[in-house]
Symmetry: C2
Subunit: 441 residues, 2 copies
């Protein structure tokens, strides 16, 4: 090659295997090892972190986990292979034979021939303790270690599957986000929504969505708010009724959830069992029923007739508070409920005017769900030029050239995970939570 | 339901159809209409924007596009259906019969029975002009309209497919991003990389990745830099050679590109034909050859022996400049080339020490590609506690408890699109480009 040595590598391109085997011997993930049918002594290698150690006179039992599944792989070794460094938390590489397990507690086990400690872990100093079930609040102090626990491992695997399910639900996609302040000669801010960008795209593509980090400087320490959260937003062109929009929202919720349930049933079961007993039935109840619809006006009537005393008195024209949302969901038999047609003064300028009266409303919709409250917010956008005429020039421009009726919505991804898993605090369903006065990592 | 009316909707849950048909009549996307086999007069409805109007004595021809494909659908109508509002850019809804086209230029056409103008478009004021091929620089002034052109439409569809291909390459995933300043009692910044977060996750999951917006306040107006760009980053645990890392990088590039080529061949062809003639052959050349590997030291030698005069004299210990990267890629026959083992002083503190000398290097790798230069950057991370002992407490913590060898990389998504499509300016492969002194939208 033009006179200078370029080392040619012996890499065969193989499009069907995303992550290659890293070594000539058969390296398996714990998940793949556990799933092996008819194990009969194949030589394999696994790598992971020790989750338990049990040393008997002649035999040593280890459980090794590599994050690929909730279940760990049992390693059985001659006690001669034991060492001081085989601690809870240490990382190891184990070579041996994959065999059918004589015990009923697992299908397969790894008969170790060689155990190599890759990284030691001093159990005294390690904040995660062997055999202890740490409360979620305790784990939150250790954002850099908590993903090594069963429960956070499960939640993060579910988060990953839910992300994939949402991407597969939408096609095609549009992606966008707003950057740093004081750099563009004009004030620029972190985005609180990608909606206006999506509206631009929906003038050329009939279905667009975005999924990414969103920033809100709300000074709230609640279990439902984060300063940075992930949001799914969609805009659909030529939509002229809230009904159509609500159908997409309901299908997105149900299709994503069904996919998550089928892809990682053990992880979901762990959450439902230990974090939120009873959540399995509550989720099934949500999935098997058609979501309900009430108008904002009906919602206020329901609240006014309630025997319950609210901190904030329900009144037409005022926003629904958390306590109101909770009551409405319970009132609807714990089925998710769409609240539609909000007062014009409560919603942003771009919501479509219903031209009704005397109680003037817009075609906005929120979906309230059990345990979480508002999960989706959306509406039809005002596509009529003269309704927007006194507003911003660029946004007006979008209505001048081939305008179309359209609508869209946003869903908070962390609230979605809270809703299906029954996780009480939003900080436990995101890897690195940021909220007022806290940015640990 | 507890005495108050909740309107039950007649929505059937159907997990196989992500976006539902919005109307009882058969509404088709332009893409689906064009793909209809044996069209024989089925009544359908389409919605979209007029891309061309041709009015003859008795017949009216329209081309309607809805963003679902590069090709528009030909609508044939009796001239009686013509109206002043049927302009280039107007949005319309057309009902009629889908028939086999008598012309050889298309397979099917829509014999219109009804044409409804949804949103008028005044051609005089509309900055995109009929039949004109606007330069990309011109279109950049209109971020809110340019997605209605053929070329931006194609690039955005390709961007969407490439995103999907990258997500399907990686499983499972980790997601993260850093939020707003002055809100957390400690200084917080927009992320320039998710790597440190990925390293946390790679202490419990053996393969993690993230794909999202990334921010760099580089004061560069170059055609290769953006203030906000999208980056794919991955960390892989138990990796102890650059070879393994390079294999993943090469496979990611090739698998993603093959997927894009197979999913939207017409869109890619448009780019290759009109934006970057010759790019098709250049891309094939990249795909069919094994990527090359040279060390940083070899790279500097090649540059020193070059007959070309560089603005920056190549010297061991100095960073490779754009002019150097270009020369190296050309020198390697326009095959992507990995440059490995950079001087320790050039790379961040967490790169793994090669413990060589007297020219002290670290196990870092950059992938240089034709037309773009640096596309990937990565390396093995220093997993040995004592090498990091004088650094930050929390980062050190990650090496104290079950540390493992690991490595990772990042790929600039916009540069990837530039590389495969031959698009010269990075601002044309992102929907809303932000760069110093420019945040139009």
């Amino acid at each position: 090659m033009l006179g200078v040595r370029c080392l040619l590598r012996s890499v065969r391109f193989c499009s069907s295997a995303p992550f290659p085997k890293h070594k000539p011997s058969a390296k398996l993930s714990v998940r793949d090892a556990l799933g092996a049918q008819n194990a009969s002594g194949e030589r394999i290698k696994i790598q992971g972190w020790i989750r338990s150690v049990r040393s008997q006179k002649e035999v040593l039992f280890l459980h090794v986990n590599d994050g690929s599944s909730l279940e760990s792989l049992q390693v059985v070794a001659d006690s001669g292979l034991d060492s001081r460094e085989l601690n809870f938390g240490s990382s190891v590489e184990v070579q041996g034979q994959l065999i059918k397990s004589p015990s009923k507690r697992q299908n397969v086990e790894l008969k170790a021939e060689k155990i190599k400690v890759i990284g030691n872990c001093d159990a005294k100093d390690f904040p995660i303790k062997y055999k202890e079930r740490h409360p979620l609040e305790y784990l939150r102090q250790y954002p850099h270690f908590r993903c090594r626990t069963n429960v956070l491992g499960s939640i993060l695997r579910i988060r990953s599957e839910a992300t994939a399910a949402i991407h597969s639900f939408f096609k095609p996609s549009g992606k966008l986000k707003v950057p740093e302040e004081n750099f563009f000669n004009v004030p620029a801010f972190l985005t609180v929504s990608g909606q206006l960008h999506l509206e631009v795209m929906s003038g050329a593509f009939t279905q667009v969505f975005t999924f990414g980090p969103t920033f809100r400087a709300e000074n709230s320490q609640s279990r439902r708010h984060l300063a940075e959260f992930y949001m799914i937003e969609a805009e659909i062109s030529f939509v002229d009724s809230l009904q159509d929009l609500m159908q997409v929202i309901e299908e997105l919720f149900k299709a994503t959830t069904m996919m998550v349930l089928s892809k990682c049933p053990e992880d979901v079961e762990l959450c439902h069992k230990f974090i939120a007993p009873g959540q399995k039935d509550r989720l099934e109840h949500m999935l098997k029923n058609n979501f309900l619809i009430i108008s904002y006006t009906e919602a206020v009537e329901i609240l006014k007739q309630a025997s319950q005393n609210f901190t904030f008195t329900p009144e037409w024209g005022a926003d629904l508070r958390t306590e109101h949302e909770k009551y409405l969901v319970k009132h609807c038999g714990n089925i998710p409920v769409f609240v539609i047609n909000y007062p014009l003064t409560l919603k942003p300028f771009y919501m479509r005017d219903n031209e009704d009266g005397p109680q003037h409303t817009v075609a906005a919709v929120d979906l309230l769900v059990p345990g979480v409250g508002e999960l989706f917010g959306g509406g039809l956008r005002e596509e009529r030029y003269h309704f927007l005429e006194e507003r911003l020039a660029r946004y007006l421009d979008l209505r001048r050239f081939g305008s179309v009726p359209h609508g869209g919505f946003g869903m908070g991804f962390e609230r979605y995970l809270q809703c299906i898993l029954g996780v009480d605090n939003i900080k436990d369903v995101i890897p690195f939570p940021r909220f007022p006065h806290s940015c640990l990592l």
